[in-house]
Amino acid sequence: MGGLDQLRQLQQDFMHYVLGEQSEIVTQTESTPVLSAKDLLDIYATAYKLRLKGAISTNY
């Protein structure tokens, strides 16, 4: 797999992770000396949950 198919797979994996679903994205992202790839991806997943919570709080 390469090119656009690879990009699409990466986006699907990233989205699954953000939504809290099974995902292979951790293997496609880099860790730093301080933080693991999972820690870094959790920034996006947490932000999604906070936005969802904010939208529900505002509207209901």
């Binding site: 656009l4 990009l7 699409r8 986006q11």
Partner: protein, 289 residues
């Protein structure tokens, strides 16, 4: 498109509608979030019409799907074109990112791998959008917290190559460069030095938050000193570039935000040469005074 200099502007937020309409405060221009006005009518559009009567406006979007592998959203582009005809903006930026896949919206600006296939994908889609809108667009660099293993080049090469191949322009977010520098450990000056200066049409400035070892792009604080220093470096590198401050959380009064914008004016006035000030006109001379 040569580089017009609009001076110093602010992101227009609902908190400030009434103040701006009633008091017509001094600001050279406003940047709106396009999606907030893609509606058939009502109060947002009525307020926008009043503001457009008094100020130049730039239309900044967050949902163009430029980097997504989903098809471009023709309905979105038609609404955007309709709003462009109504507002007659100076220019139309969006982000170099993806937000949707399989029609699911992340409500976030998500990063892309920096590789040849992604460059081709984005350059092609930007060209399609520009053809449909009948005008070049601007793309904005992201802040990011993670890197893709499939990336083959640094972000600045990726951005520059897309600009070159698509013929679009750049909205350079100085705060985003600072954040990504901190999170990914590169020198921000290296990024700025590598960008094709003739394609830079606008700067964004904003504040951010620290979360442990990471900086998060929250737009909920004042612009910090290191970002002001990087702004000064960017002015030195590119000359006069239209500049605005984004604020999306802990929003201060309009007067307080306008005072923060005056810092940008004073930095530009002391950084740019006499010739650049002359070319740029009124706005910089006011900052110098």
């Amino acid at each position: 498109m040569s580089r017009p200099f609009l001076g110093f502007g602010l992101g227009l937020r609902t908190d400030h509608y009434q103040y701006v309409i009633e008091h017509r405060p001094q600001a050279d221009w406003f940047e709106i979030i396009s999606e907030n006005y893609m509606v058939p009518g009502g109060k947002p559009l009525a307020n926008l019409d009043k503001i457009c009567a008094d100020y130049p406006v730039v239309m900044h979007g967050v949902s163009m799907l430029i980097g997504s592998t989903d098809p471009l959203n023709q309905g979105y582009l038609e609404k955007l074109k309709g709003l462009i005809e109504r507002v007659e903006p100076l220019w139309v930026p969006d982000h170099l990112c993806w937000t949707h896949v399989d029609q699911v919206n992340s409500h976030d600006l998500l990063l892309l791998p920096y590789d040849e296939a992604t460059i081709n994908h984005l350059a092609d889609r930007i060209s399609q959008v520009q053809y449909f809108l009948g005008r070049p667009i601007l793309i904005e660099n992201l802040s990011s917290y993670v890197c893709c293993t499939q990336s083959e080049m640094p972000e600045w090469e990726f951005v520059s190559e897309i600009v070159k191949r698509s013929g679009c322009y750049l909205l350079l977010d100085i705060n985003n460069i600072f954040i990504s520098d901190h999170n990914h450990h590169f020198k921000p000056e290296t990024y700025i030095d590598a960008i094709p200066g003739e394609r830079v049409m606008q700067f964004h400035l904003a504040g951010h938050s620290y979360n442990g070892d990471m900086i998060i792009d929250t737009h909920d604080h004042d612009v910090c000193d290191p970002v002001w220093a990087l702004y000064e470096y960017a002015l030195w590198r590119f000359g006069a570039v239209s500049t605005m401050i984004e604020r999306d959380g802990n929003i201060p009064t309009f007067t307080e935000l306008r005072a923060e914008l005056a810092i940008a004016e004073s930095i530009a006035a002391k950084t740019l040469t006499e010739q650049q000030i002359e070319i740029s006109g009124r706005a910089l001379l006011r900052g110098a005074g």
